[in-house]
Structure formats: C-alpha cells, structure tokens
Subunit: 259 residues, 2 copies
C-alpha cells in the first residue's frame, strides 16, 4: 500500500536530523578515508556510519521498500519503478567534508512506482534541512519556500561541476558566458539548494542517481524545470547529465544548445 | 609617525564590525544596483554607504593617510609606498550580495611605507571577522589561527576565478587537474579566508589592489606564499594575476608552470 507523503516525510526528516546530529558529534574524529572509483571519490567512517543508520531506519519501518544507496556495493535498479524506493546519499560532497569540514549534505529522495514522493537535503554545517514533497511544497527548517523564481539566464549565477564543465559537451562554457557567472561548490545537494532558494538560477552536472533523486523531488515541487541536458527525462537507473533551471533560464539554455 | 600595529588593528576591527552591523540591517533594502566597468561588475547602495562609513572613520582618525578604495573615482597610486595607506573594499563579491545575499566580504588592508601592517576580512553572513597583522598573527573572531598547513597540490582544493581560469594563461587548467579539485566562490576575500583556514590549499585569480591588499597581509602573517603567477612580487598599484598557496603547493604549481 502506498504510504502517505506526510508520513514518509515525518520519517525521513526525523532520520536525517538524527544523522545530522551524529555527523556534528563525529566531525573531528573522521577516520578510514578511502578512495572508491577515482582518487578523489572518497568515503569515510562517517559515510559508513550514516549509511548504516539510515538503512536501518528505512528497513525497520518500510521492510518491503528498495534502497539505492551511494555506498551500497550492489545496486539493483531492476525494481526502481515498483513500489516504494529510497535513494540515499549518506554524505554528498565527501571531498568537502574531508578537506573543508564544510559544504556537504545528507540526502534522501523517495519515489513510489517511479514517481517523486518526497525528499530531504540536509546542509549539515548550516543546520538547515530542506524538505518537502509534491503535495507539501518545500520548507527550509520551519520556513516555507516560494515557488520558482523566473529570471533569464543573463541575470543569474549557474552552478556547475568543474570536470564536466571543462569537457564542454553541452555548451556549458557558452552557457556560462551568457550568465552572470558560474560557481563551483562540490556538493550536488547544496547546488540543488542554491537553485531552490533562488540563489543560483541553474545547475548543470553529470550525476549519479543518489545525487539527483532528492533534488529532483524538491525542484519539481517548486516548479523548476529538470531534465537531461539533451531534453530527455531523468533516468534514475544511471548517470545523467542533468540541467535544472527556472523556466525562463531553461529555455535560454536550450536555445544556446540548439544554436 | 608610524602607528602601532595593535592600535590600527583595534581601529579597523571596530570599524569593520560597525559596517557589518549596517549591512545586516540593510540587506533587505538594497537599491540603486548599477554596473561599473562590465555588466556584472556591480555596485549598490550598500557598497556606497559602507565606503562612506569606512572612509570617514579612516580620515577622522588618520587624516594624513592615503585611502585606495574600490569605489573611489580617482585612485592615486603615486604615494602608496609612503607612510600609512588603507586599501578598502567596502563589499567584495557584490554580485553574490545582489544575487545570493551570501558569500561576500568587507575588507581593509593597511600598509606602512609599502610594507604589510595589518588587515581585516569580514565574512558578513557568517559573522566571522578574520583579522591580524605581521606581529599579532591571525584570528577568526576570538580564535587564533594556526600557521600555514603544508600539503602537496594533489591533496587539496584550489580556488579560482572562473573567467581567468578559462583563459588558462598560467596553466590553471593543468594545475586544477593535478589538484583534488577546484571551487569557485565569487569573492576574493572569502577565497583568501579558505586558504588561511586551510580549507583550500591555493587560490589563483586576476585581482585589483583592493581585492588583494587585506588577504596579502593575513596570508603572509601565517606563512603562506603569495606572488604574481610568474613569480614576481605583488604590485599594489595595478591588477595582479596572483597565486597564493602553502609552501609545498606553491612549489608544485611553479613546477607545473615551468614544465
């Protein structure tokens, strides 16, 4: 049976706030920093612990659900459009956590039968939880956020992931030069937060499903546009080159790409 | 007569904290947003007001001193190596102030006979004042900061200004690819702060004298290396392509450039 958005939101926000508390208490005792696929794709004792906490929370409460987690060794995408699915990124921006003790997030995105249900993104160091769903709207802690701002590309800042940016596969450099400027934060979750708070007007990056899932819910709940950079729908079973933007900027970017 | 570092520090930190209070009180009533040299080189009513406050503070207390300010129409560099000189950036990162209400700084750098004396950089939205001098060392609010970390380039994050980065005139892209990653913040002052707190290991950018002056004092007081990217000394009478880094990273960057 499909759980209510409100019930799942109550659960995930409670779990994320507990995980946030754990991270603050253990920030000065990070150990076991390991590389995964690449030299700078890091995982730490904190990623492991938060993943275990969130997995246990989810499995205890929703034993029938599927969990797709960044740190899970085996990821089964065959059932992601059936029933309740939790996408979990215990620490998004681990490189920032390790190098800066700043600018990283805890994220959960929840889907039912492949459709966005609700999500939470925790900006850990600012103690700000961005949470909401398609019916609920989106909040930062207790404050309701406004629907999408709508500005042209030239009037706003664009977040990018720098390695992707340099490849310029989707005209990122020309898009940047037609904007007010680019910024690079190193956390997909916090880049989504910049967009939903209207601080950035777009975000372009190559991302894994657990990097996208939570932000995808929140931006859609506020009326922002999100798709693959070539205009296709997001596919949460694979890496996507995404673009998220307010409606006017989305059109401006598509025009530049078509030019 | 040369004033003591301690006395000037007491003055500039008091003035910066007052200016910080003013900015917080007027953040939601920014008006008169104008472009200067380029479309995105902005100045607002807040830049104007903070400049006037700081100029009056300086002129009343040190009437013989020279002030070089971002928003001053006429900048006289002929006397910058004689006596007491204040470099003032009332708002560093005005584009961020306007678009994000976040990630901007108030900066004063003080020199005597062309030598660094003391400085303050205020991270306004975090209410953190980074201040110090060559004898005093460097503090964040009441906490003394440690001397320079010393890590190789490959182990840390590098801040860059993105337009300069794309020109790649000084091998910025190869430097980036040999680091743990790049970040783009859009505020020179806060990029200096990332270096002096050890969060970033280097910063490369093309900057005006008032963007450099305060950071130049604080990084030298902590033992970081700073120069023009070609190895020459900083010249506070003109735009400089600067590189600031911990000693080991500085050597790594110079090696890449010489390669």
């Amino acid at each position: 049976m499909k759980p209510t958005e409100k019930d799942v939101l109550n659960d995930i926000t409670t779990w994320i706030l507990s995980a946030n508390k754990y991270v603050h208490e253990h920030l000065n005792s990070i150990n076991d920093i390991r590389s995964k696929s690449g030299e700078y794709d890091l995982v730490t004792s904190i990623d492991d612990a938060v993943e275990q906490m969130l997995d246990k929370n989810i499995s205890d409460k929703y034993p029938e659900s599927l969990i797709i987690g960044e740190e899970k060794k085996e990821k089964d995408y065959s059932q992601i459009n059936n029933g309740l699915v939790f996408f979990v990124d215990p620490i998004d921006g681990t490189l920032n956590l390790v190098k800066k003790h700043d600018c990283f997030a805890i994220m959960i995105g929840v889907y039912y039968d492949g459709e966005p249900l609700c999500a939470g993104i925790m900006d850990v160091m600012n103690n700000e939880l961005y949470w909401g769903g398609m019916e609920t709207g989106v909040y930062c802690n207790d404050t309701k956020l406004n629907p999408a701002v709508d500005l042209p590309l030239r009037e706003g800042l664009v977040g990018v992931s720098w390695r992707q940016f340099l490849k310029n596969a989707f005209e990122e450099i020309r898009i940047a030069k037609n904007s007010a400027g680019i910024r690079v934060m190193g956390s997909a979750g916090l880049e989504f937060v910049e967009v939903i708070t209207g601080k950035h007007i777009a975000y372009l990056a190559s991302l894994n499903p657990w990097d996208i899932a939570a932000g995808n819910v929140l931006v859609q709940a506020l009326g922002y546009r999100i798709s693959s950079v070539n205009g296709n729908s997001i596919n949460l079973a694979k890496v996507n080159h995404i673009m998220v933007a307010n409606p006017q900027t989305y059109r401006d970017i598509r025009k530049i790409q078509a030019y």
